[in-house]
């Protein structure tokens, strides 16, 4: 995942200063929760994260899935406390599996609507509206949450978020934007997009070691998502008032958190160049499609760096090779290009985000060389 490449500038300090101790974040913790820690300044970092995404409050989580779990858990409490909401969550048909698992863990039911199918796989607000109406009719209640995947993991499509969130909010349904693939790569603002929660992945898109993610929300929802522990086991009189159950009390610390803190200035700097990056990505798509029998699946022009091509000829050629489906990845590795998913040849996914012009050229040439070998083989 190109968006998670750690800036070389921080590596020395990251390992040199923080690499010796497992409990490195907790060493000077005086508050009993890593997100309240002043040294290193985790609390300040989370304030910056919230502000960076236009939100009011943020907590770090065990990856993006931890963020989604926290939101789903809060939504479950909403459903249990408020008779207007049932236990349904509407998810888009391209959502990441962890969205569905997070709902499942919270005993929430997920429903999806159709996408447009091959070759674009897009969807819009109408799918959400239809499902909300259907659920209202069946249960007499509103779904407790709508989830929109901002750049999906399959095709890198960007749906019309504002239109979707407005539709859902008009019904009174809260909206979670899963920005695992976009938050930290392109500008995102929770208020401009009119959503209630954003889930983020620092190791996917914020130049950090993993596993770490964030949940960002507004004041309206912060109390519910970040509600602190009320538990009182009894006999000993112990309580844990600073711990947040939805993020398992005190969330992940150590190198992932330190890494994300050190990377944030680089993330802030790079998103300014997003439109330039996007143009380079689409130019690359045009060039690689000129090879022939390679076609980008998903939206055109593409609005994200995740590229998914169908490659029927590559599959035919790979079948003739000893390595079969592993041939494309091996060929590229042997030509100095790493990162292609091993075992895939009928269709391939990759990203050239953040590469220099020379590096993109190298990737392109490697694909051209592979095509040339294929042509010779076919002849």
């Amino acid at each position: 995942m190109r968006g998670g490449i750690v800036p070389p500038e921080i590596k020395e300090d990251l390992y040199g200063e923080w690499g010796d101790i497992g409990y490195n974040v907790c060493y000077d913790c005086l508050e009993g929760r890593s997100s309240l820690c002043g040294k290193p300044p985790v609390k300040k970092h989370l304030e910056k994260i919230a502000a960076f995404f236009g939100g009011d409050a943020a907590e770090h989580t065990f990856g993006c899935r931890g963020a989604k779990y926290a939101v789903m858990s809060a939504i479950r409490s909403l459903h249990l406390e408020n008779d207007n909401f049932c236990d349904y969550v509407i998810v888009d048909p391209n959502c990441h599996y962890s969205t569905i698992i997070a709902a499942e863990m919270n005993e929430l039911k997920t429903v999806e609507f159709p996408h447009s199918g091959y070759p674009e796989y897009t969807f819009g607000a109408e799918g959400y509206a239809e499902k909300i109406e259907q659920i209202k009719k069946e249960t007499g209640k509103l779904p407790a949450l709508a989830v929109v995947t901002h750049a999906d993991p399959y095709y890198g499509n960007i749906p019309p978020i504002r239109e979707i969130s407005t539709t859902c909010k008009n019904y009174g349904v809260p909206v979670l934007l899963n920005a695992a693939y976009t938050g930290g790569v392109m500008p995102i603002n929770i208020k401009e997009l009119n959503v209630d929660f954003i889930s983020l992945s620092a190791h996917k898109s914020m130049m950090s070691l993993g596993p770490i993610g964030y949940v960002v929300t507004t004041h309206e929802w912060a109390d519910r998502v970040f509600r602190t522990s009320q538990a009182m086991p009894g006999w000993s009189g112990r309580t844990f008032g600073k711990k947040i159950p939805n993020i398992f009390g005190c969330s992940i610390g150590g190198m992932p958190l330190i890494s994300s803190m050190m990377s944030l200035p680089f993330v802030e700097k790079r998103i300014v160049n997003w439109e330039d990056e996007l143009k380079k990505i689409n130019d690359f798509v045009d060039q690689i499609e000129d090879i022939g029998d390679m076609m980008l699946l998903g939206q055109r022009p593409h609005r994200h760096h995740l590229l998914h091509f169908e490659t029927p000829r590559l599959w035919t050629v790979s079948n003739e090779k000893r390595d079969k489906g592993f041939y494309p990845a091996k060929f590229l590795i042997n030509n100095g290009v790493v990162g292609l998913h091993k075992g895939m040849s009928k269709h391939i996914k990759f990203s050239v985000y953040g590469l220099t012009d020379e590096e993109r050229e190298k990737v392109l040439n490697a694909f051209y060389d592979m095509a040339e070998v294929s042509r010779k083989q076919e002849n």
Partner: protein
């Protein structure tokens, strides 16, 4: 590691798949004519026991070799041919007199015994492609699951007998299935097939197209890609996408020809084909209603191919044609 451990390890995925509490139990009858097998390397049962009891204990790891004096149940002695009947009319399936029974090891066993519950039996039946349950409630683990399976070479399930329930330590929900050893590899193969059908490399199955539909398109030269098929018709690269209705039914078939526009002159397209531009690509496509077009997605491959060919030849004229 002994050879029996290796066999047990090999078949462990079967036990894991079924979620079995007990280990698989092998039973091997040593005939009197076999003077070479040394049973002294196995433990003795430790007193007189029921055969079904020894089988259940072997399911917890206690492997033994039992001879006539170790048996507490006359029915088992007769069923396993440790003793021939003199005064009762019990058919003896095992012709040769048995010197000893080795209970536990899988390697070299004459029968593999599964101690399972009804749900597990259902899954085992699916793996076996069917399972007979021929039982009388008498001479059960020894006769119905062991001797009968050895002689007939077919799996059989027994619902046990009173002796097994009273003295053998079996619970109300336990049953025993005897399986001939030669069938174990086939069962294992089925289990591995089921475990490997995770779908995409990420472990998520992104389409539930039935295998028959995939096979049907394969038979006409179309290969399944992520959730669509790719192939060639009349020398043109064609994709087939199965559109689902609201309830997930396979309602429509879309054939689609993606054309890179700058590659040549724009094709002429007639209905039912329509076009859609996507940046530098033009999609030529037609969607057919499966029911009204009389398409059989599960087995009518030749008809589908013929319809696609007729339509493409008649309604799309490419530049230069």
């Amino acid at each position: 590691m002994s050879t029996s451990d290796k066999a047990r390890e090999k078949y462990e995925p079967i036990r894991a798949y079924l979620g079995m509490k007990y280990e698989l139990v092998g039973a091997k009858l040593i005939p009197e004519s076999d003077e070479t097998t040394d049973i002294s390397e196995y433990d003795k049962p430790g007193g007189r026991k029921w055969y079904c009891q020894m089988v259940r204990e072997a399911g917890t790891g206690k492997h033994v070799a039992a001879t006539l004096e170790d048996f507490a149940c006359a029915n088992a002695e007769l069923a396993l041919s440790l003793r021939k009947p003199k005064y009762v009319n019990i058919p003896t399936m095992i012709k040769e007199t048995t010197r000893a029974v080795i209970i536990g090891p899988i390697e070299g066993a004459d029968v593999i015994l599964f101690i399972i519950n009804p749900k597990q039996a259902m899954h085992l039946a699916l793996l076996l492609g069917g399972l007979s349950a021929e039982f009388k409630g008498d001479v059960a683990v020894c006769g119905e699951a062991t001797a009968q399976v050895i002689v007939e070479g077919m799996p059989n399930m027994t619902m046990l007998c009173n002796g097994a329930r009273m003295y053998g330590g079996y619970t109300d929900s336990d049953a025993v299935v005897g399986v001939p050893p030669f069938m174990m590899d086939k069962i294992l193969e089925k289990v591995m097939e089921k475990q490997s059908c995770g779908g995409a490399l990420c472990g998520c199955l992104i389409t539930d197209l039935p295998p028959e539909v995939v096979q049907n398109f394969k038979s006409i030269g179309f290969e399944k890609n992520s959730d669509f098929f790719m192939g060639t018709v009349s020398g043109r690269s064609v994709r087939v996408y199965i559109n689902k209705d609201e309830r997930g039914g396979l309602a429509q078939l879309t054939m689609l020809l993606p054309i890179k526009v700058k590659e040549g002159a724009e094709p002429t397209v007639m209905p039912p084909f329509v076009t859609k531009n996507r940046d530098s690509w033009m999609d030529i496509y037609a969607t057919l209603d499966v029911a009204s077009a009389g398409l059989d997605l599960h087995s009518g491959g030749d008809v589908i191919l013929s319809i696609m060919k007729t339509m493409i030849d008649a309604y799309i004229k490419f530049g230069g044609e």
